[in-house]
């Protein structure tokens, strides 16, 4: 009995070495760069950081970046779940091809994506020329940024929801139907709540990716200050002026806002998971 209370070696061997490698990797790849950013920012001084962040142009860029990233992530939530549903539940010609195509935004260098999207949506492009007739400019407006962010964030929700959907017990749906629930009710009360935690993970990933996205957006945004200038561009502009402190300050602001947003999504996830377990 006493032996059980002492911390004992896991039955699984290799804890020491895997934990060691994990900590080293995590430190080198994630913690050190972020730590350097935080140190750079704090050395600059909180007032100085606030002075850089609290400018109309910085606020405009942050608001633009986070607003469009959130909208793109929500768009991807809806269409990602739908896409995952189609890929998992139906059998049709070209399904595997579609499935593979979902990952393309991961594989494609973002600059290529940006240039390709700009070519399509520019007023003389294939889509852009049609939209221009309707008086709708996409490239070089906030719409263009939105399109690019939807593109780079697309795979996340699909890939997080897909496995959950594939392993989901069909008996639950059948039970719901035999108990007299309508299709809409089954979807809303049975299927979606079960997909929720996975979908939220996807949203968090898509949001994080979109907030930091530079390569593809820079080609399709007009980059006009106060209108289509994203926060990462503002950082690059500060770097061009050799103004490393101000760049770190904006970086810190982005880090803080991202942290709050991801924390909120995590809490939402915990809440939705509890709801399933209690149900």
């Amino acid at each position: 009995m006493m032996a059980a209370l002492r911390p004992r070696r896991s039955a699984m061997p290799g804890f020491g070495i895997t934990m060691g490698v994990t900590l080293t990797m995590l430190s080198l790849v994630v913690l050190l760069p972020i730590g350097a950013l935080v140190i750079k920012g704090t050395a600059f001084g909180p007032e100085a950081v606030w002075e850089v962040v609290n400018r109309p142009r910085t606020w405009a860029a942050l608001w633009l970046s986070f607003r469009l990233s959130a909208l793109a992530a929500l768009f991807n939530l809806v269409f990602g779940v739908l896409l995952a549903w189609v890929l998992v539940r139906y059998r049709f010609v070209g399904r595997r091809l579609f499935d593979a195509a979902v990952d393309l935004p991961f594989a494609l260098p973002t600059a290529v994506a940006g240039i390709a999207l700009t070519t399509l949506y520019a007023p003389n492009g294939v889509f852009g020329s049609v939209l221009a007739h309707l008086g709708w400019r996409v490239a070089y407006t906030q719409w263009g940024i939105f399109v690019a962010l939807v593109f780079v964030g697309l795979p996340f929700v699909v890939r997080t929801v897909q496995p959950v959907l594939a392993t989901m017990d069909r008996e639950l749906e059948e039970a719901s139907a035999t108990l007299g629930a309508s299709r809409t009710r089954t979807i809303c009360k049975v299927i979606l709540p079960m997909l929720m935690p996975a979908a939220l993970t996807g949203v968090a990933l898509a949001l994080a990716r979109a907030v930091g996205e530079y390569g593809s957006v820079i080609f399709i945004a007009g980059n006009i200050p106060m209108r289509t200038e994203i926060a990462p561009l503002l950082i690059v502009i500060q770097l061009e002026e050799f103004n490393y402190d101000a760049a770190a300050a904006i970086g810190l602001a982005m880090l803080a806002i991202s942290f709050v947003l991801l924390l909120a999504i995590n809490l939402l996830q915990v809440w939705s998971r509890r709801r399933i377990e209690n149900a």
Binding site: R57, V112, A122, G222, I224, P225, M226, E241, A246
Partner: protein
């Protein structure tokens, strides 16, 4: 024989050629051996002799290396210059040098050198970029007085590229702020070259009795897209069909005509423009020995030699010495009223006043 290794990040070969420059770093390794086509026998003999020489004097003939860190539009010029210089250098009785050139945005290139890129020579778009490197002590503060003409072996100016036939009748700077005119120019905050565009507009307004601040304000209100670099702006104008006029370096404008055919665009030369001086300097802190110093010094000084000046003219730069240049290359450039950066008090004043954080350019977008 020039071997070029291109590292293309995010730009596939299927895209228009000049777009690759936006996000790529190119390294051209110029001639180690310059071999015109010869018979096999002759080549074998030459190879054996060369081999013997190399083996015999391996220590003494250690090939000197030189890295020239340059900005974007000089790619074609330095590719040819490296060949020319290597030939000349060998003709002086030296071993074949190994010359490398790296290209990118001027500011980013300067930062790379500041962060430790081992460049012996920098050839950038702006003196202020080299000044930043000098502030770190990597080269003497008076670098710009160590070579003729403000250390600028070639210059350029800012002109207008308009659609063929000039449908909007753009002749001079004041036409750019007309109703419905869209102007394409890169962001002067991220593009060193674009600062010349802005200053040229300022100079015109000043010479024509207008309030320059109000004029540049008005001008940038007509800019629908602020690309981050000069090549990006050229793409927006030429490939995407955005805008009525592109403010471009003269050499870039001619390059665009050459690459895209002169049936699509016309060059309009305004009444006033600015003498854009892309200067060159030796990064003394990165020189490892006297041999390398001699090579770097010769590399920079030879830029002023008649045949190198001719090469600059050929690549659409306004160089100084026309003695060896092809007459048609020189005749291409019309005379126009040029102001210099010294009229703005030099970069050390113009840079913070106009392009610094919260400077005049920033005030265009955020009223103070």
């Amino acid at each position: 024989m020039t071997i070029e290794i291109s590292i293309r990040i995010g730009a596939s070969r299927g895209l228009p050629g000049h777009m690759a420059g936006r996000t790529s770093a190119h390294y051209a390794i110029a001639p180690v051996v310059t071999a015109p086509r010869r018979s096999l026998a002759k080549r074998t003999v030459a190879a054996v002799i060369t081999g013997a020489l190399v083996l015999g004097a391996a220590g003494a003939l250690n090939a000197q290396t030189l890295l020239n860190v340059s900005y974007d539009p000089t790619r074609e010029f330095y590719r040819e210059y490296n060949t020319q210089f290597a030939n000349w250098w060998q003709a002086q009785g030296n071993a074949a040098p190994k010359l490398e050139t790296s290209h990118g945005g001027s500011g980013a290139q300067a930062r790379a050198v500041m962060d430790g890129l081992n460049a012996q020579v920098v050839t950038l778009a702006l003196a202020s970029d080299i000044d930043k490197i000098a502030q770190m002590g990597k080269l003497p503060a008076d670098w710009q007085s160590r070579l003729p003409h403000n250390a600028s072996p070639y210059t350029s100016t800012i002109v207008f590229l308009v659609r063929k036939g000039n449908p909007k009748h753009i002749q001079d700077w004041d036409d750019l702020t007309g109703d419905g005119i869209e102007v394409i120019t890169p962001n002067p905050k991220t593009s060193g070259g674009a600062r010349w565009n802005y200053l040229a507009a300022w100079a015109w307004a000043e010479k024509n009795g207008k309030d320059p601040k109000a004029f540049v304000h008005d001008l940038y209100a007509h800019v629908p897209v602020l690309d981050s670099g000069a090549r990006g702006a050229t793409t927006t104008f030429a490939q995407r069909g955005i805008g009525d006029v592109l403010l471009a370096w003269e050499n870039e404008a001619y390059l665009a005509l050459e690459q895209m055919g002169d049936d699509a665009f016309d060059i309009v030369v305004p009444s006033v423009s600015i003498r854009a001086e892309p200067p060159v300097a030796m990064v003394t802190a990165n020189i490892k020995d006297d041999d390398q110093r001699a090579l770097a010094q010769a590399y920079l000084e030879h830029l002023y030699a008649p045949e190198a000046q001719a090469l600059a003219f050929k690549h659409f730069y306004r160089a100084w010495d026309t003695s060896a240049a092809a007459p048609e290359d020189v005749a291409r450039f019309p005379k126009l009223d040029l102001v210099g950066i010294e009229d703005f008090g030099g970069w050390s004043k113009a840079q913070p006043d106009h392009f610094g954080d919260g400077g005049i350019f920033d005030q265009i977008y955020v009223p103070q």
